[in-house]
Amino acid sequence: MKQLLTGNEAAAEAAVYAGCRYYYGYPITPQNELINYMSVRMPQVNGTFIQAESEIAAINMVHGSAAAGGRAMTSSSSPGISLKQEGISYLAGSELPCVIVNIQRGGPGLGDISASQADYFQSVKGGGHGDYRLIVLAPSSVQEMADLVYDAFDLADRYCNPVLILGDAQIGQLMEPVEFKKEFRENLPLKDWALTGADNRSRRIIKSFYPVKGELEVFNAKLQKKYKEIEKNEVRYEAVNIDEADVVLVAYGTSARICKEVMRKSAGLEFRIGLIRPITLWPFPSEYIRKISERVKCILTVEMSAGQMVEDVRLAVEGRCPVHFYGRTGGGVPTSLEIINKIMEILPKNMTAKTPLPFAGVK
């Protein structure tokens, strides 16, 4: 049965479906629908809801419940996610599974509360200290928010690693029909590594401290091996109209929605536009982008940032074709017209000569 929900509410309900019974949050716009929803929903499924005293406390409560074997989640928005970075580093270092939702807003600092994609670096390069990675999933619709949050709990458990859902104010607050098609999970078994009390077994320690010289390097090698495995198995992306494309757009989340509008509006033009939409921002679909870069005129990365993901696109392309960027910052949202104009600017002139106005003259 389809329901009309905001992306924030869909994220919350999907977590409940996935068997998450421990939610810890702190109010911040534009993710408030999520914490509000959980305060009602968690008691209904005998779960725990705590409005923590800070984002720092919330992520550490997640740490405790994850260590104790429960499926745990927290959510916030950019400034609050910055506060959680210490906790996220400890979760990664302790190899604890959990799900963190970031409904991005504009920054830096207090910024504003409108949609932004300026937390890409923080999400995929390691916002906290140390050599660690998060699995980062970027939904571009309310339905996909629900699907990815559900999958996030399985991915977290499979790899004993935190998973970050990277949305933005648009995806979080937009209302769309959504259906929860997957199994409603309840009473999941406790994990065989979790802290449950040393009952007829040797004790378990959950830690990220390796003070004996050499031990930490061994542990880090183990982490890196795990990350390689994730890179091999978990890359997700959507590719649209790639085969005939002259120019390929690379965009995720809200920007990718706008790029799809660009494709619709430019269907009659003389050049062909394709789209690669990374769904996992880490692991990044580098292999696929590299392959495509060998046969297109150029790539245009579109973001609601000053240019962050474009660095990973360039690393994937390694000069095989020109990589351009179009972005808006601080709550600005690229329009389809702006993007089409940018495409006309970067394509060879003979490919755009016959393109009718109104595209040519708009700045």
Partner: protein, 245 residues
Amino acid sequence: MQAIYEKPETFIDTPTHFCPGCGHGIVLRLIAEIIDAWGIRSKTIGLAPVGCAVLAYNYLDIDMCEAAHGRPPAVATGIKRVHPDHFVFAYQGDGDLAAIGMAEIIHAANRGEHITFIFVNNAIYGMTNGQMAPTTLIGQKSATTPKGRNPSNDGYPIRICELLSVLEGSSYIERVSLSSPENIRKTKKAIEKGFKTQKEKRGFSLIEILSPCPVYWRMSANESMKHIEETMTGTFPLGIVKDWE
């Protein structure tokens, strides 16, 4: 031949990393004695802090979790909500609990979490070579108060027991010390009362333990014990501050 004093089963036989004359070993042993006596090893989960006691899990043979600096009350909350019928305790020093972790401890107390906090107050940051702690006494010299703690710049020693006792969520709060065999027995009794508070779901319990740090107090072990009795208890008076019974 009858043994009258043995290593508790829950206490791991390993070389200590604590400095000579330090109080942590005594407190950890007391916890192990209680876990043995109550037969609750399989139902106890402990939290290790950041600071001198970070390696608490080297000594206690129970399930344990590490927490970031100051965050044991939040991590313990997350554990207790998964295992509401287990004994959950957090072991914290004065920097961990009363400086960086002040928000977490106040709100754990305010929520009345059924968790026992073992708060070891030695009025100094030992792990990082003896800087001022929030509980450092007025006039006490440290690496960062070389002329002694001066309230006009450094503020005053924080009395955690008194501070937390005014919150409606706190149930059992007592300050004890390790300065004599008699006081060590009282410390054990206080920790047991903390565990009883949890068992009966009476809410938040905290036992503050005045503990010696001879190395960074620049005193002998004996002088340290005397210092606790004669000076430290002036700022931090011993006794039950709050009780549900």
